[in-house]
Point group: C2
Chain length 390, copies 2
């Protein structure tokens, strides 16, 4: 028997697939058929998890005592994250405000489960990380795209937020460094946004999962603004721990008890092996390795960015962080979705069309990730060049 009617709730009509995953599947199918594909679609560092992290996790697993932990995470790990804020930002954050989560995804769910009321409107920069709007919708809120352009570095401004704020608006989310653009908010721009949000009595949630991966100025953290902002972070990107599913949330002190109730009910606890591994993520030897890898990402950006520009892609806002270049293809093709299809099928290059990142001119943008080495990037550029000349 087959269900006569789809049992799906109304929200499902608004939940889009994560298209880059479809593209990855297509790339894998082509590879299985013997084709060589240059991967510029993957939002995942290609480096292995640092050895000290693997070793710590393996030693923990060898005990066999892989049990639930405290719902908010291992106390020692919460303290280690706090110490990292002091080391990198000179900032004291109370470890009790740090909640260890199942990836940044888990942190987003906890923060938004706490904050999104039904029909509340949330301002989300567009282009932006596609899952954010789906989390808001999941919780019966209304994601409202805030179109951002190259003129403001693909980041919103305080004036724009004030102008967009409506009667039902409740919060602004920002990301710095941002996906898909790699652009950042410096301390002054963050403060400008916070002033605007505060003037409206709203909430600011800052996605800082790409912090650490910056190639100019160090990224400012929204935690420096106030103890009242919500910050999402992750072990996936800078720490090269994607598959472990570990992240963290920094919440205002007065909200931690509510976050704990949610964490107990929705997750019980984050992965114990991942947490024990992550205890080794802040060791000086690990951090030294991660800094070498950051330099490698910088070298890759410095191959890919001029390479794309030479081919006729426009990249008007300099990407300063993460591992993405968000390129305007208007001079080269009419539609990025169609172009992405030609790229993978004819040129063997996988890159993500703008479609995944919102409704703000997705057809004229592509995201290229530099999560492969410089030789592969050069090969990819070469292939794109041949396709464009054909």
């Amino acid at each position: 028997m087959i269900l006569r009617h789809s049992p799906a709730a109304a929200r499902m009509a608004d939940i889009a697939p994560f298209h880059v995953m479809e593209l990855m599947a297509r790339a894998q199918a082509l590879e299985a058929a013997g084709r060589d594909i240059v991967h510029m679609e993957v939002g995942e560092p290609d480096f292995p998890t640092p050895e000290p992290v693997c070793e710590a996790a393996r030693a923990f697993i060898a005990t066999g005592r892989v049990r639930y932990t405290h719902a908010l995470g291992l106390p020692a790990l919460r303290e280690a994250v706090a110490a990292f804020y002091e080391l990198r930002h000179g900032l004291r954050v109370d470890p009790r405000r740090i909640v260890v989560t199942a990836g940044a995804s888990g942190a987003l769910l906890l923060a938004l489960a706490l904050l999104v009321g039904r029909d509340d409107e949330w301002l989300l920069p567009d282009p932006g990380y596609p899952c954010n709007r789906h989390f808001v919708r999941l919780l019966e809120g209304r994601p409202v795209p805030l179109p951002v352009t190259a003129e403001t570095g693909f980041q919103p401004t305080g004036d724009q937020v004030l102008a967009a704020w409506g009667e039902r608006t409740r919060a602004l989310m920002v990301a710095s460094p941002a996906n898909p653009t790699g652009t950042m908010l410096d301390r002054e721009r963050l403060a400008d946004l916070w002033r605007a949000v505060r003037a409206r009595g709203g909430i600011l949630v800052a996605d800082e999962i790409y912090q650490g991966l910056t190639y100019g100025a160090t990224a400012a953290t929204a935690l420096a603004l106030s103890d009242d902002v919500f910050v999402i972070n992750s072990f996936s990107k800078y720490f090269n721990m994607t598959g472990w599913r570990l992240g963290w949330l920094v919440a205002p002190e007065g909200c931690v008890r509510d976050v704990e109730k949610l964490a107990q009910n929705l997750f019980i606890s984050p992965s114990a092996p991942a947490q024990h591994g992550a205890l080794a993520a802040f060791q000086p030897t690990t951090l030294a390795l991660l800094e070498e890898r950051r330099e490698e990402f910088r070298r890759r950006r410095d191959v890919l960015l001029p390479g794309l520009r030479n081919l006729g892609f426009r990249v008007p806002a300099e990407p300063e962080g993460a591992f993405y270049v968000y390129a305007d293809i208007a001079d080269l093709a009419a539609d990025s979705f169609e172009f992405a299809g030609r790229l993978i099928e004819s040129a063997g290059v996988a890159a993500t069309p703008g479609l995944d990142f919102g409704i703000n001119a997705p057809g004229r943008h592509m995201r290229f990730a530099y999560t492969v080495g410089t030789e592969r990037l050069a090969e990819g550029l070469e292939r794109i060049g041949r396709l464009l000349r054909a």
Copy 2:
């Protein structure tokens, strides 16, 4: 500065803490002060994760390639789960219907995110697993407690479901074996419930996370009823993998694409080390070990259940699965919350008051878990006896 108003969404007023976790924290505090505590509160097997699982995870981690997996889980693991249904239930389940998740919690979130529309009512047996009603509320649905009593083995009946079904009712959740009662639904009773749900055009979600841990008849799976039911399962309990955070969902074929969209957006993927470990969970040597442990659980039940009855606790519905005894304390104390406090403070025995499991006579019930060895259970019984005689 402190937030002037709590930013919490309205739903937070309905999200209760998981009280057993508070109790565990109190037990730990007493232990830190030198007290010996007999733990009968913990819903977590005390056995270490089976060695083959640990070994497989460690070998995987040693490669360093701990990357995102497919959002629905490793294909080999989905096939292994399908083969397990064939082995244990003689049932063919298409591996494409099996979705590997971040614990049963992740499976619950995916199923309910798909199915719970705003203001939809969901019938949930009371007493029952407390998080279920919070998941429904999270998604802006309305959990409706369906009171169940010892007369029907603390499980609902088809007639009861038909009588309780209202205009906005959309689904029934059941659990077999159930937490906190350890009672089960045999195939006929499951079929009776499915007929009732189908007669109303509703949805059936079956929580089967304690399957494998049964001490009489093997538990029936709701998957045998129809390809249209939703089944939640877990590696935590039978497989002794709590801290790994791994479970699975079996969904109707026509819903898998929607579940995949949700999984991509809400989780990206389940833990890679946990999945690679779990590949070894179905090996004959692992299963043989788990069967020995099941026998040990049976021995424990056969100490605890008569022991409690001898002390004057009433247990009218025989617990046949999981690792809980849900005891009526009416002959011994006026209120289970107060009694639980006296038990831990005066007798050094931690057990969970009914409060966690709903609003159906929680004050006259306690849950005792047999997740410690028989000697400790005997010691706990001895201490409870002394307290009752004092």
